[in-house]
Protein backbone atom coordinates (compact mmCIF):
# COMPACT_ATOMS: atom_id res chain seq x y z
CA UNK A 1 0.00 0.00 0.00
CA UNK A 2 1.47 3.34 -0.91
CA UNK A 3 2.52 5.80 1.81
CA UNK A 4 -0.26 8.30 1.02
CA UNK A 5 -2.89 5.78 2.07
CA UNK A 6 -1.12 4.95 5.31
CA UNK A 7 -0.67 8.60 6.25
CA UNK A 8 -4.27 9.43 5.47
CA UNK A 9 -5.68 6.63 7.56
CA UNK A 10 -3.15 5.89 10.24
CA UNK A 11 -5.67 4.31 12.60
CA UNK A 12 -5.87 1.15 10.52
CA UNK A 13 -2.71 1.25 8.47
CA UNK A 14 -1.27 -2.10 7.41
CA UNK A 15 1.29 -2.06 10.22
CA UNK A 16 3.68 -4.96 9.79
CA UNK A 17 3.72 -6.50 13.25
CA UNK A 18 7.06 -8.17 12.62
CA UNK A 19 8.68 -4.80 12.08
CA UNK A 20 7.37 -3.34 15.32
CA UNK A 21 10.07 -3.07 17.95
CA UNK A 22 7.55 -4.20 20.55
CA UNK A 23 9.03 -2.09 23.31
CA UNK A 24 8.84 1.54 24.36
CA UNK A 25 10.98 3.94 22.46
CA UNK A 26 11.99 6.66 24.90
CA UNK A 27 12.26 6.70 28.71
CA UNK A 28 9.62 4.68 30.57
CA UNK A 29 7.58 6.31 33.37
CA UNK A 30 8.43 5.01 36.88
CA UNK A 31 6.00 2.30 38.04
CA UNK A 32 3.59 3.68 40.58
CA UNK A 33 0.99 0.95 41.03
CA UNK A 34 0.81 -2.77 41.81
CA UNK A 35 0.39 -3.89 38.22
CA UNK A 36 3.15 -1.62 36.96
CA UNK A 37 5.56 -3.07 39.54
CA UNK A 38 4.56 -6.58 38.49
CA UNK A 39 5.08 -5.74 34.87
CA UNK A 40 8.64 -4.57 35.48
CA UNK A 41 9.28 -7.69 37.60
CA UNK A 42 9.92 -5.88 40.80
CA UNK A 43 8.13 -8.63 42.72
CA UNK A 44 6.37 -11.88 41.72
CA UNK A 45 2.59 -11.67 41.47
CA UNK A 46 -0.34 -13.89 40.60
CA UNK A 47 -0.66 -11.96 37.32
CA UNK A 48 2.93 -12.79 36.32
CA UNK A 49 2.52 -16.48 37.29
CA UNK A 50 -0.71 -16.74 35.33
CA UNK A 51 0.90 -15.36 32.18
CA UNK A 52 3.93 -17.62 32.56
CA UNK A 53 1.71 -20.66 33.00
CA UNK A 54 -0.31 -19.72 29.90
CA UNK A 55 2.88 -19.26 27.91
CA UNK A 56 4.18 -22.66 29.03
CA UNK A 57 0.87 -24.23 27.99
CA UNK A 58 1.16 -22.60 24.58
CA UNK A 59 4.73 -23.89 24.20
CA UNK A 60 3.55 -27.38 25.17
CA UNK A 61 0.92 -27.20 22.39
CA UNK A 62 3.63 -26.26 19.93
CA UNK A 63 5.77 -29.18 21.13
CA UNK A 64 2.84 -31.56 20.54
CA UNK A 65 2.22 -30.17 17.05
CA UNK A 66 5.88 -30.39 16.00
CA UNK A 67 6.22 -33.89 17.47
CA UNK A 68 3.16 -35.05 15.51
CA UNK A 69 4.64 -33.65 12.33
CA UNK A 70 7.97 -35.41 13.01
CA UNK A 71 6.10 -38.69 13.51
CA UNK A 72 4.17 -38.11 10.29
CA UNK A 73 7.43 -37.56 8.37
CA UNK A 74 8.49 -41.12 9.17
CA UNK A 75 5.77 -42.38 6.83
CA UNK A 76 5.63 -39.88 3.98
CA UNK A 77 7.63 -40.32 0.82
CA UNK A 78 10.35 -38.22 -0.73
CA UNK A 79 9.67 -35.24 -2.95
CA UNK A 80 10.42 -37.23 -6.13
CA UNK A 81 7.20 -39.20 -5.64
CA UNK A 82 5.23 -35.98 -5.47
CA UNK A 83 6.99 -34.64 -8.59
CA UNK A 84 5.74 -37.63 -10.61
CA UNK A 85 2.19 -36.83 -9.60
CA UNK A 86 2.63 -33.11 -10.31
CA UNK A 87 3.99 -33.61 -13.82
CA UNK A 88 1.23 -36.09 -14.66
CA UNK A 89 -1.39 -33.56 -13.54
CA UNK A 90 0.14 -30.73 -15.61
CA UNK A 91 0.48 -32.82 -18.76
CA UNK A 92 -3.05 -34.19 -18.63
CA UNK A 93 -4.74 -30.74 -18.83
CA UNK A 94 -5.24 -28.76 -22.06
CA UNK A 95 -3.95 -25.22 -21.70
CA UNK A 96 -4.95 -22.44 -24.15
CA UNK A 97 -1.89 -20.34 -23.25
CA UNK A 98 0.64 -22.98 -24.29
CA UNK A 99 2.11 -23.19 -27.79
CA UNK A 100 0.88 -26.77 -28.17
CA UNK A 101 -2.35 -28.67 -27.83
CA UNK A 102 -3.34 -32.32 -27.69
CA UNK A 103 -6.42 -31.94 -29.88
CA UNK A 104 -7.93 -29.20 -32.02
CA UNK A 105 -8.47 -26.96 -28.98
CA UNK A 106 -11.73 -25.24 -28.08
CA UNK A 107 -13.29 -22.67 -30.38
CA UNK A 108 -13.78 -20.22 -27.51
CA UNK A 109 -10.07 -20.00 -26.79
CA UNK A 110 -9.53 -17.55 -29.68
CA UNK A 111 -12.56 -15.34 -29.02
CA UNK A 112 -10.19 -12.57 -27.87
CA UNK A 113 -9.11 -12.18 -31.49
CA UNK A 114 -12.55 -12.31 -33.08
CA UNK A 115 -15.56 -10.00 -33.31
CA UNK A 116 -15.51 -6.46 -34.70
CA UNK A 117 -11.74 -6.47 -34.62
CA UNK A 118 -11.49 -9.69 -36.59
CA UNK A 119 -7.86 -9.29 -37.42
CA UNK A 120 -4.65 -10.80 -36.22
CA UNK A 121 -2.87 -7.51 -36.62
CA UNK A 122 -2.03 -7.34 -32.95
CA UNK A 123 -0.88 -3.73 -32.96
CA UNK A 124 -4.54 -2.69 -33.25
CA UNK A 125 -5.38 -4.15 -29.86
CA UNK A 126 -3.05 -2.01 -27.84
Amino acid sequence: MDKQVEEANPSSSPARAREDGGGGGGGMALPVCFEDKARVGQFPTFIGKHKLAASISHLQNQIDIIQKELDELETIGESSIVCIDLIASVESTSDPLLPWTKGPGEVGWDRWFRGANNSRNHSRWI
Binding site: A8, S12, A15, L52, L59, E69, V82, V90, T93, F113
Partner: protein, 378 residues
Protein backbone atom coordinates in the same frame (compact mmCIF):
# COMPACT_ATOMS: atom_id res chain seq x y z
CA UNK B 1 4.75 -23.64 41.91
CA UNK B 2 7.00 -20.63 42.38
CA UNK B 3 7.73 -18.06 39.70
CA UNK B 4 11.33 -19.24 39.58
CA UNK B 5 10.20 -22.81 38.90
CA UNK B 6 7.76 -21.60 36.26
CA UNK B 7 10.49 -19.58 34.60
CA UNK B 8 12.72 -22.64 34.54
CA UNK B 9 9.96 -24.68 32.96
CA UNK B 10 9.41 -21.91 30.41
CA UNK B 11 13.07 -21.89 29.40
CA UNK B 12 13.09 -25.69 29.14
CA UNK B 13 9.94 -25.69 27.00
CA UNK B 14 11.37 -22.97 24.71
CA UNK B 15 14.57 -24.96 24.28
CA UNK B 16 12.54 -28.08 23.43
CA UNK B 17 10.51 -26.19 20.83
CA UNK B 18 13.66 -24.80 19.21
CA UNK B 19 15.44 -28.15 19.09
CA UNK B 20 12.34 -29.94 17.73
CA UNK B 21 11.98 -27.27 15.06
CA UNK B 22 15.58 -27.82 14.04
CA UNK B 23 15.04 -31.59 13.88
CA UNK B 24 11.93 -31.06 11.78
CA UNK B 25 13.81 -28.78 9.38
CA UNK B 26 16.58 -31.34 8.97
CA UNK B 27 14.19 -34.26 8.54
CA UNK B 28 12.27 -32.34 5.86
CA UNK B 29 15.51 -31.45 4.07
CA UNK B 30 16.50 -35.12 4.03
CA UNK B 31 13.24 -36.01 2.24
CA UNK B 32 13.84 -33.48 -0.54
CA UNK B 33 15.74 -35.81 -2.86
CA UNK B 34 14.87 -33.61 -5.85
CA UNK B 35 12.93 -30.53 -6.77
CA UNK B 36 10.44 -30.34 -9.66
CA UNK B 37 12.99 -28.89 -12.09
CA UNK B 38 15.58 -31.55 -11.28
CA UNK B 39 13.05 -34.30 -11.79
CA UNK B 40 11.61 -32.77 -14.99
CA UNK B 41 15.13 -32.41 -16.46
CA UNK B 42 15.93 -36.01 -15.62
CA UNK B 43 12.79 -37.02 -17.53
CA UNK B 44 13.91 -35.02 -20.56
CA UNK B 45 10.93 -32.66 -20.48
CA UNK B 46 10.82 -30.32 -23.50
CA UNK B 47 11.57 -26.70 -22.57
CA UNK B 48 8.89 -24.19 -23.26
CA UNK B 49 9.62 -21.28 -25.59
CA UNK B 50 7.45 -18.35 -26.59
CA UNK B 51 7.92 -16.38 -29.78
CA UNK B 52 7.73 -12.56 -29.56
CA UNK B 53 4.12 -12.48 -30.80
CA UNK B 54 2.76 -15.51 -28.95
CA UNK B 55 1.40 -13.92 -25.76
CA UNK B 56 -0.30 -10.78 -26.93
CA UNK B 57 -2.05 -7.89 -25.23
CA UNK B 58 -5.44 -7.92 -26.90
CA UNK B 59 -7.40 -5.47 -24.70
CA UNK B 60 -6.57 -2.48 -22.53
CA UNK B 61 -9.35 -1.68 -20.05
CA UNK B 62 -9.24 2.00 -19.20
CA UNK B 63 -11.46 3.70 -16.69
CA UNK B 64 -9.90 3.75 -13.24
CA UNK B 65 -8.27 7.02 -12.18
CA UNK B 66 -6.05 5.48 -9.53
CA UNK B 67 -3.80 2.46 -9.04
CA UNK B 68 -5.49 -0.89 -9.58
CA UNK B 69 -5.00 -3.05 -6.49
CA UNK B 70 -7.07 -6.17 -7.10
CA UNK B 71 -9.06 -8.02 -9.75
CA UNK B 72 -11.18 -11.15 -10.05
CA UNK B 73 -12.83 -12.97 -12.96
CA UNK B 74 -16.29 -14.50 -12.91
CA UNK B 75 -16.76 -18.26 -12.96
CA UNK B 76 -18.37 -17.94 -16.39
CA UNK B 77 -16.21 -16.57 -19.11
CA UNK B 78 -15.76 -12.90 -19.63
CA UNK B 79 -16.44 -10.53 -16.72
CA UNK B 80 -13.96 -8.99 -14.34
CA UNK B 81 -14.29 -6.87 -11.21
CA UNK B 82 -11.41 -4.55 -10.31
CA UNK B 83 -10.67 -2.40 -7.26
CA UNK B 84 -8.69 0.79 -7.31
CA UNK B 85 -7.13 3.53 -5.23
CA UNK B 86 -9.77 5.80 -6.83
CA UNK B 87 -12.25 4.29 -4.37
CA UNK B 88 -14.28 2.39 -6.94
CA UNK B 89 -15.00 -1.10 -8.13
CA UNK B 90 -15.52 -1.45 -11.86
CA UNK B 91 -17.19 -4.47 -13.44
CA UNK B 92 -16.00 -5.06 -17.00
CA UNK B 93 -17.02 -7.24 -19.89
CA UNK B 94 -13.46 -8.10 -20.88
CA UNK B 95 -14.49 -9.28 -24.36
CA UNK B 96 -16.20 -6.01 -25.35
CA UNK B 97 -14.14 -3.76 -23.01
CA UNK B 98 -17.40 -2.27 -21.73
CA UNK B 99 -17.93 -1.24 -18.14
CA UNK B 100 -21.17 -2.64 -16.79
CA UNK B 101 -20.90 -1.15 -13.27
CA UNK B 102 -18.82 1.56 -11.62
CA UNK B 103 -19.38 1.27 -7.87
CA UNK B 104 -18.40 4.11 -5.57
CA UNK B 105 -17.27 2.57 -2.30
CA UNK B 106 -18.27 3.75 1.19
CA UNK B 107 -14.60 3.49 2.16
CA UNK B 108 -12.19 4.52 -0.58
CA UNK B 109 -9.23 2.57 0.87
CA UNK B 110 -9.95 -0.72 -0.82
CA UNK B 111 -7.37 -3.51 -1.02
CA UNK B 112 -9.21 -6.55 -2.39
CA UNK B 113 -12.25 -7.56 -4.41
CA UNK B 114 -13.96 -10.77 -5.48
CA UNK B 115 -16.73 -11.94 -7.79
CA UNK B 116 -19.35 -14.30 -6.40
CA UNK B 117 -19.67 -17.75 -8.04
CA UNK B 118 -23.01 -16.87 -9.68
CA UNK B 119 -21.68 -13.51 -10.86
CA UNK B 120 -24.55 -11.68 -9.18
CA UNK B 121 -22.53 -10.08 -6.39
CA UNK B 122 -19.14 -8.59 -5.73
CA UNK B 123 -17.28 -8.18 -2.45
CA UNK B 124 -14.51 -5.84 -1.40
CA UNK B 125 -12.50 -4.99 1.69
CA UNK B 126 -9.74 -2.70 2.86
CA UNK B 127 -8.62 -0.29 5.55
CA UNK B 128 -12.13 0.04 7.00
CA UNK B 129 -11.58 -3.49 8.42
CA UNK B 130 -14.86 -4.60 6.88
CA UNK B 131 -16.00 -6.53 3.82
CA UNK B 132 -18.78 -4.90 1.76
CA UNK B 133 -21.09 -6.91 -0.49
CA UNK B 134 -22.88 -5.40 -3.50
CA UNK B 135 -25.68 -7.11 -5.41
CA UNK B 136 -25.18 -6.14 -9.06
CA UNK B 137 -28.90 -6.44 -9.79
CA UNK B 138 -29.87 -3.89 -7.12
CA UNK B 139 -31.35 -0.57 -8.08
CA UNK B 140 -29.10 2.43 -7.63
CA UNK B 141 -29.94 4.97 -4.92
CA UNK B 142 -30.92 8.57 -5.60
CA UNK B 143 -27.27 9.55 -6.09
CA UNK B 144 -26.82 6.85 -8.70
CA UNK B 145 -24.75 4.64 -6.39
CA UNK B 146 -25.21 0.92 -5.95
CA UNK B 147 -26.14 0.35 -2.30
CA UNK B 148 -24.16 -1.96 -0.02
CA UNK B 149 -26.31 -5.07 0.47
CA UNK B 150 -24.33 -6.43 3.43
CA UNK B 151 -21.37 -5.30 5.54
CA UNK B 152 -19.28 -7.97 7.25
CA UNK B 153 -17.91 -6.44 10.44
CA UNK B 154 -15.70 -8.15 12.98
CA UNK B 155 -12.09 -7.94 11.89
CA UNK B 156 -9.87 -5.82 14.12
CA UNK B 157 -7.52 -4.93 11.28
CA UNK B 158 -7.58 -4.20 7.56
CA UNK B 159 -9.05 -6.75 5.16
CA UNK B 160 -6.22 -7.66 2.79
CA UNK B 161 -7.85 -10.45 0.82
CA UNK B 162 -11.27 -11.96 0.19
CA UNK B 163 -12.60 -14.88 -1.83
CA UNK B 164 -16.04 -16.48 -2.15
CA UNK B 165 -16.35 -20.16 -1.35
CA UNK B 166 -16.89 -21.92 -4.72
CA UNK B 167 -20.42 -22.88 -5.77
CA UNK B 168 -22.17 -20.72 -3.21
CA UNK B 169 -22.76 -17.00 -2.98
CA UNK B 170 -23.45 -17.35 0.75
CA UNK B 171 -19.95 -17.81 2.15
CA UNK B 172 -16.74 -15.86 1.88
CA UNK B 173 -13.27 -16.11 3.42
CA UNK B 174 -11.23 -13.05 4.35
CA UNK B 175 -7.64 -12.50 5.46
CA UNK B 176 -6.78 -9.59 7.72
CA UNK B 177 -4.13 -7.42 9.30
CA UNK B 178 -5.47 -8.67 12.67
CA UNK B 179 -3.57 -11.95 11.97
CA UNK B 180 -6.72 -14.01 11.41
CA UNK B 181 -8.81 -15.41 8.59
CA UNK B 182 -12.58 -15.58 8.88
CA UNK B 183 -15.28 -17.65 7.17
CA UNK B 184 -18.42 -15.50 6.90
CA UNK B 185 -22.08 -16.33 6.41
CA UNK B 186 -23.12 -13.49 4.11
CA UNK B 187 -26.85 -14.12 4.63
CA UNK B 188 -26.59 -13.28 8.33
CA UNK B 189 -23.44 -11.15 8.21
CA UNK B 190 -21.96 -13.25 11.03
CA UNK B 191 -18.62 -15.01 11.40
CA UNK B 192 -19.02 -18.78 11.03
CA UNK B 193 -15.42 -19.47 12.05
CA UNK B 194 -12.26 -17.56 13.00
CA UNK B 195 -8.95 -19.12 11.98
CA UNK B 196 -5.98 -18.10 14.09
CA UNK B 197 -7.94 -16.44 16.87
CA UNK B 198 -6.32 -15.48 20.13
CA UNK B 199 -6.32 -18.81 21.95
CA UNK B 200 -5.87 -21.10 18.96
CA UNK B 201 -2.80 -23.12 17.99
CA UNK B 202 -0.85 -22.84 14.78
CA UNK B 203 -2.00 -19.27 14.32
CA UNK B 204 -0.31 -16.62 12.25
CA UNK B 205 1.75 -14.25 14.34
CA UNK B 206 1.54 -11.30 11.95
CA UNK B 207 -0.75 -9.75 9.31
CA UNK B 208 -2.43 -12.11 6.86
CA UNK B 209 -1.94 -10.73 3.35
CA UNK B 210 -3.58 -13.31 1.11
CA UNK B 211 -5.96 -16.27 1.06
CA UNK B 212 -6.72 -18.86 -1.59
CA UNK B 213 -9.47 -21.48 -1.51
CA UNK B 214 -9.00 -24.96 -2.97
CA UNK B 215 -11.34 -25.21 -5.98
CA UNK B 216 -11.42 -29.05 -5.83
CA UNK B 217 -12.07 -29.23 -2.09
CA UNK B 218 -13.56 -25.99 -0.86
CA UNK B 219 -13.10 -26.95 2.80
CA UNK B 220 -9.39 -26.26 2.40
CA UNK B 221 -7.77 -22.86 2.03
CA UNK B 222 -4.29 -21.43 2.45
CA UNK B 223 -3.20 -18.11 3.92
CA UNK B 224 0.03 -16.15 3.52
CA UNK B 225 1.37 -13.79 6.15
CA UNK B 226 3.97 -11.24 7.20
CA UNK B 227 5.21 -13.93 9.64
CA UNK B 228 6.92 -15.49 6.54
CA UNK B 229 4.77 -18.61 6.62
CA UNK B 230 1.85 -19.98 4.67
CA UNK B 231 -0.74 -22.07 6.53
CA UNK B 232 -3.27 -24.62 5.37
CA UNK B 233 -6.67 -24.56 7.08
CA UNK B 234 -9.66 -26.90 7.10
CA UNK B 235 -12.87 -24.91 7.58
CA UNK B 236 -14.26 -27.73 9.73
CA UNK B 237 -11.41 -27.29 12.24
CA UNK B 238 -10.91 -23.64 13.07
CA UNK B 239 -8.95 -24.32 16.25
CA UNK B 240 -5.64 -25.03 14.56
CA UNK B 241 -3.92 -24.90 11.19
CA UNK B 242 -3.61 -28.25 9.38
CA UNK B 243 -0.03 -27.45 8.44
CA UNK B 244 2.45 -24.57 8.47
CA UNK B 245 4.80 -24.08 5.55
CA UNK B 246 8.19 -22.53 6.27
CA UNK B 247 10.86 -21.50 3.78
CA UNK B 248 10.30 -17.90 2.79
CA UNK B 249 12.57 -15.27 4.31
CA UNK B 250 10.18 -12.37 3.99
CA UNK B 251 6.47 -11.52 4.05
CA UNK B 252 4.36 -13.93 2.03
CA UNK B 253 2.39 -11.44 -0.05
CA UNK B 254 0.36 -13.86 -2.12
CA UNK B 255 -0.80 -17.48 -2.07
CA UNK B 256 -2.61 -19.27 -4.89
CA UNK B 257 -3.73 -22.89 -5.17
CA UNK B 258 -2.28 -24.91 -8.04
CA UNK B 259 -4.99 -26.09 -10.49
CA UNK B 260 -4.92 -29.73 -9.31
CA UNK B 261 -5.67 -28.65 -5.74
CA UNK B 262 -2.80 -30.67 -4.23
CA UNK B 263 -0.19 -27.91 -4.35
CA UNK B 264 -0.10 -24.16 -3.90
CA UNK B 265 2.21 -21.35 -4.96
CA UNK B 266 3.46 -18.39 -2.95
CA UNK B 267 5.11 -15.04 -3.69
CA UNK B 268 7.18 -13.15 -1.16
CA UNK B 269 9.14 -10.05 -0.20
CA UNK B 270 12.24 -12.28 -0.41
CA UNK B 271 11.88 -12.11 -4.20
CA UNK B 272 11.04 -15.78 -4.72
CA UNK B 273 7.98 -17.80 -5.61
CA UNK B 274 7.68 -21.29 -4.13
CA UNK B 275 5.58 -24.36 -4.75
CA UNK B 276 4.44 -26.46 -1.76
CA UNK B 277 2.65 -29.81 -1.60
CA UNK B 278 -0.29 -29.83 0.82
CA UNK B 279 -0.35 -33.56 1.53
CA UNK B 280 3.33 -34.00 2.43
CA UNK B 281 4.26 -30.42 3.31
CA UNK B 282 7.27 -30.59 0.97
CA UNK B 283 8.64 -27.43 -0.59
CA UNK B 284 8.79 -28.70 -4.19
CA UNK B 285 10.40 -25.78 -5.99
CA UNK B 286 11.85 -22.32 -5.54
CA UNK B 287 11.42 -19.93 -8.47
CA UNK B 288 14.17 -17.34 -8.35
CA UNK B 289 16.08 -15.55 -11.06
CA UNK B 290 18.20 -12.44 -10.68
CA UNK B 291 16.66 -9.36 -12.25
CA UNK B 292 18.72 -6.57 -13.84
CA UNK B 293 21.13 -4.66 -11.56
CA UNK B 294 21.16 -7.64 -9.17
CA UNK B 295 17.88 -6.32 -7.84
CA UNK B 296 15.74 -8.61 -5.66
CA UNK B 297 12.28 -7.06 -6.00
CA UNK B 298 9.42 -8.50 -3.94
CA UNK B 299 6.79 -10.67 -5.60
CA UNK B 300 3.39 -9.09 -5.14
CA UNK B 301 1.03 -11.26 -7.18
CA UNK B 302 0.96 -14.66 -8.85
CA UNK B 303 -1.38 -16.80 -10.96
CA UNK B 304 -1.15 -20.25 -12.54
CA UNK B 305 -2.32 -21.11 -16.04
CA UNK B 306 -5.12 -23.68 -16.17
CA UNK B 307 -2.78 -26.68 -16.46
CA UNK B 308 -0.27 -25.25 -14.00
CA UNK B 309 2.54 -25.33 -16.57
CA UNK B 310 2.85 -21.52 -16.43
CA UNK B 311 3.31 -19.38 -13.33
CA UNK B 312 2.80 -15.65 -13.82
CA UNK B 313 4.50 -13.46 -11.19
CA UNK B 314 4.32 -9.69 -10.80
CA UNK B 315 7.27 -7.95 -9.10
CA UNK B 316 7.54 -4.46 -7.61
CA UNK B 317 10.08 -3.36 -10.24
CA UNK B 318 7.53 -3.75 -13.06
CA UNK B 319 8.66 -7.19 -14.23
CA UNK B 320 6.04 -9.84 -14.84
CA UNK B 321 7.84 -13.11 -15.29
CA UNK B 322 6.21 -16.07 -16.97
CA UNK B 323 7.77 -19.16 -15.38
CA UNK B 324 7.81 -22.67 -16.80
CA UNK B 325 6.81 -24.31 -13.51
CA UNK B 326 8.25 -27.71 -14.43
CA UNK B 327 11.72 -26.56 -15.51
CA UNK B 328 11.82 -23.45 -13.25
CA UNK B 329 12.89 -21.17 -16.11
CA UNK B 330 11.60 -17.73 -17.01
CA UNK B 331 10.22 -18.03 -20.55
CA UNK B 332 8.95 -14.48 -20.99
CA UNK B 333 8.84 -11.14 -19.19
CA UNK B 334 5.46 -9.54 -19.91
CA UNK B 335 6.66 -6.42 -18.12
CA UNK B 336 9.34 -5.77 -20.70
CA UNK B 337 7.05 -5.95 -23.75
CA UNK B 338 6.34 -2.68 -25.50
CA UNK B 339 2.62 -3.25 -25.07
CA UNK B 340 2.89 -3.76 -21.35
CA UNK B 341 1.93 -1.57 -18.41
CA UNK B 342 3.84 1.56 -17.49
CA UNK B 343 4.04 0.72 -13.81
CA UNK B 344 4.09 -2.25 -11.43
CA UNK B 345 1.60 -5.07 -12.05
CA UNK B 346 -0.23 -5.42 -8.73
CA UNK B 347 -2.74 -8.17 -9.51
CA UNK B 348 -3.18 -11.05 -11.94
CA UNK B 349 -5.93 -13.51 -12.76
CA UNK B 350 -6.81 -16.16 -15.33
CA UNK B 351 -10.23 -16.42 -16.98
CA UNK B 352 -12.29 -19.47 -16.02
CA UNK B 353 -11.40 -21.36 -19.22
CA UNK B 354 -7.74 -20.34 -18.97
CA UNK B 355 -7.74 -18.62 -22.36
CA UNK B 356 -6.87 -15.16 -21.08
CA UNK B 357 -4.74 -13.54 -18.40
CA UNK B 358 -5.77 -10.20 -16.93
CA UNK B 359 -3.15 -7.94 -15.38
CA UNK B 360 -3.96 -4.91 -13.23
CA UNK B 361 -1.42 -2.18 -12.66
CA UNK B 362 -0.49 0.94 -10.74
CA UNK B 363 -0.71 2.69 -14.16
CA UNK B 364 -4.55 2.57 -13.59
CA UNK B 365 -5.20 0.12 -16.45
CA UNK B 366 -6.07 -3.53 -16.81
CA UNK B 367 -4.83 -5.54 -19.77
CA UNK B 368 -5.99 -8.82 -21.27
CA UNK B 369 -3.41 -11.21 -22.69
CA UNK B 370 -4.09 -14.27 -24.82
CA UNK B 371 -2.14 -16.71 -26.98
CA UNK B 372 -2.10 -15.42 -30.53
CA UNK B 373 0.52 -17.69 -32.03
CA UNK B 374 0.43 -21.05 -33.68
CA UNK B 375 -0.43 -24.06 -31.53
CA UNK B 376 1.41 -27.23 -32.47
CA UNK B 377 -0.77 -30.33 -32.26
CA UNK B 378 1.03 -33.05 -30.30
Amino acid sequence: MSVAELKERHVAASDTVNSLRERLKQKRASLLDTDVAGYARSQGKTPLTFGPTDLVCCRTLQGHTGKVYSLDWTSEKNRIVSASQDGRLIVWNALTSQKTHAIKLPCAWVMTCAFSPTGQSVACGGLDSACSIFNLNSLCDKDGNLPVSRTLNGHKGYVSSCQYVPDEDAHLITGSGDHTCVLWDITTGLRTSVFGGEFQSGRHTADVLSVSINQSNSRLFVSGSCDTTARLWDTRVASRAVRTFHGHEGDVNVVKFFPDGNRFGTGSDDGTCRLFDIRTGHQLQVYHQPHSDNDVPPVKTIAFSISGRLLFAGYTNGDCYVWDTLLAKVVLNLGSLQTSHEAQISCLGLSADGSALCTGSWDTNLKIWAFGGHRKII
